[in-house]
Symmetry: C3
Subunit: 206 residues, 3 copies
């Protein structure tokens, strides 16, 4: 099942930090909606691990957080922090930029993991997009609000760029140490441009 492709791994602390950023965005949405602490934990978990969970189910890998002793407690702790701090600490741009880093990093990790499990390039590209975006989409569907998928912002597109660079470079035989940082940077730069200048994709005009 495992092919010869290598798998990028974040240092464990960076990986957990990335999950915590996603989890925080879920917990803060629950706070905005004036929800209870239990709901906040649920949103933190779904947003933090949702994308990677769907990827692992699709490629047939064991779901990454179920047998990990740290990921679920990190989501729980994030919800605790969100509950006991004023939301204005987290408002503004810090969280959006942290989320942009996470989006690009997880799009690369997700597509590289899919390649490493022997998935074909086009589906592996889609796995990268899913890893970066699906947690936020499930969060928005549960909250009953229009998901990032339905907004013209360059969000899903940034994940798609990172995953495409990762797949393209790997298939071309370039070393991971070169491809992975480059791929993550490309998606982060695009998402950053969208945040800084409000760039959006055009909608269908018929």
């Amino acid at each position: 099942m495992i092919s010869a492709h290598a798998l990028p791994t974040l240092p464990p602390a960076a990986d957990l930090a990335g999950i915590a950023v996603f989890a925080l965005s879920g917990a803060l949405l629950a706070a905005q909606l004036r929800q209870t602490f239990v709901t906040m934990v649920f949103f933190a978990l779904v947003t933090g691990v949702g994308g990677g969970t769907v990827r692992d189910l699709l490629i047939g890998a064991p779901v990454f957080w179920v047998r990990d002793p740290w990921v679920a407690p990190v989501c729980l702790t994030t919800a605790l922090v969100a509950w006991f701090t004023p939301t204005r600490w987290w408002e503004g741009r810090f969280l959006e930029w942290a989320d942009a880093v996470g989006l690009a990093a997880y799009a690369v990790i997700g597509s590289a993991k899919a390649l490493a499990w022997g998935v074909e390039p086009v589906p592996a590209w889609m796995m990268g997009v899913i890893t970066g975006c699906v947690g936020g989409i499930i969060r928005d569907v549960l909250a009953g609000r229009p998901s990032i998928l339905m907004r013209p912002e360059l969000y899903v597109t940034a994940a798609a760029l990172s995953a495409a660079v990762c797949i393209g470079g790997t298939v071309a035989g370039l070393p991971g140490a070169l491809v992975w940082p480059l791929a993550a940077f490309a998606g982060f730069a695009l998402r950053g441009a969208a945040l800084a200048r409000g760039i959006a994709l055009p909608g269908y005009r018929g």
Copy 2:
């Protein structure tokens, strides 16, 4: 994959009765919405088996109802009963109390099954909550109405209490014959207090 933890099993009739109660709550929502019989079957199935299905997918167990000859027919029969009886037979408090029993029982079964499959304690606790609550959440999302997750009622919290007592007692090495009934009773008592006195959790106040 299977650890040394034991697995609580309900007597088969009690297990099917629990699934039928959840399935009935799905079928009755379809009836309230004046849906067709086919939709009613779909809702009965999703609500009856949704939580356990998500748990089994996450922990990598075979999905419990797919190879079982009884569970799917029970959901189908429940939908038939709901279709041919007036909804007022089922309105009022009977169904809520039956659902409270099912919620507590399935939170215990779900967390104990996850432990038995070698899942770490914190994710196993979350598997208990998922087993008890996710069927109803999917049902509400499909119906386009705010899910129990977004209401302040002590519902998800009751499942969380049952699962926590189950995990805590098992990790402490207490025998299942003591822990499981105690855990189920704790969650049922909390849910019962919420039903009898309208207790709710506080929302986030910033």
Copy 3:
């Protein structure tokens, strides 16, 4: 895991054509909603492969499109076609009739695949319904509009008829070459009658 039941396979071109029809219905919904190209690809993929994906996860089979080199590119190409053509090319009845063919064909394929994987008859029947309908349901939930599941049209019912004939005939020991076309025709005829004459199921009247 694999039982003695045979598995119907469409000729590869017909199979990809069926996926493309479902994917096109997803892409066109994104076009109607004036979404971006990236969203259109996401909708094409989810609608094209969603039902079969859920079926494969439930029965424990490898997800059919993840290791296939053609399915994901077909969904991508379909989205490109939808983006660069005026929607009026696709409006009107052509797409509805193509969708009716796909619905009946995939209900048969899904239930036969479940039987071939050793699933019991009643759950296998439900797998057929899921394969035909769930892609469209996820598409509608993501778009935030009432799904086909909540409309009285004979849609889910047509899939249920095809799957039931397929299961019934196979369990009765009839040869697949006879059962599969008959089952697909039955569901297609029912869906066609609904399209041609606006037949709908009655809703629950209490």
